[in-house]
Symmetry: C2
Subunit: 142 residues, 2 copies
């Protein structure tokens, strides 16, 4: 439902590769039997989590999103968003103005995964110092 303006149309298909990350002798030892593995393989890269967090409040346009995620490159933002869209976590809405405006937001599925992810985010904010200290202590006693 919810007819969007345009379903992105042609994308000149990049490669269709779908890495599979670390198949042992082509046997499909990805984590398809393990839901956590499977989900992490999709969302456990460097940027997906951060993108989801930044979309949780409201839809955001491409460049605004880029500015809000420190250190992300244009390419990786595009790639990450496409991947999240593919997995049904993110919607992409094009307004055919000039210059074009493209807004990204979370789907219901995206909103639902944003909950545990935000918890993790809160944990990170609260405990990163503890981790730092632990690391220093560990490194000292070599």
């Amino acid at each position: 439902m919810n007819a969007r303006i345009k379903p992105a149309g042609t994308r000149t298909e990049p490669d269709t590769a779908v890495p599979l990350l670390h198949t042992t002798a082509g046997f499909a030892n990805d984590g398809s039997s393990c839901p956590i593995r499977e989900v992490l393989d999709r969302v456990g890269d460097t940027w997906s989590i951060l993108v989801i967090i930044n979309l949780q409040e409201q839809p955001v346009r491409f460049n605004a999103l880029k500015r809000s995620i420190e250190g992300i490159s244009q390419r990786m933002l595009t790639v990450t968003l496409r991947s999240l869209e593919r997995d049904g976590l993110v919607t992409r809405t094009v307004r055919p103005t000039t210059p074009p405006e493209v807004e990204y937001g979370l789907t219901e599925l995206g909103q639902s995964i944003a909950v545990p992810i935000s918890s993790l985010g809160s944990w990170a904010a609260s405990n990163r110092d503890s981790m730092r200290r632990a690391r220093e202590a560990f490194d000292l006693q070599s």
Copy 2:
């Protein structure tokens, strides 16, 4: 507190490198300003999350852990555990028997991060099918 049997002792220090993952011209563009980035850099690899989940119930010995995590190599289990230990999430307890028994468990900090991580795990179990379907649908309309 809680004097362990042995603090692991000499480990022949590997390299001290601490990758820094993708420093742009050595400028320290890791995510030290962003707690989520910083934590994900430590725990967002292929195996850490799974290890934490598997240690949540009770302490587990090395090989038992290895058996419970499908697809992990001995090396990566060792490396992952060492990293988690370094960050204060995991404890390592050696019983000097023959053969040696080494038990790994979560610290308090580890237990606390295990909570949001488990939520993510539950989400994964509940929603991976939705993700799969979304992916198939997306791939169809190319």
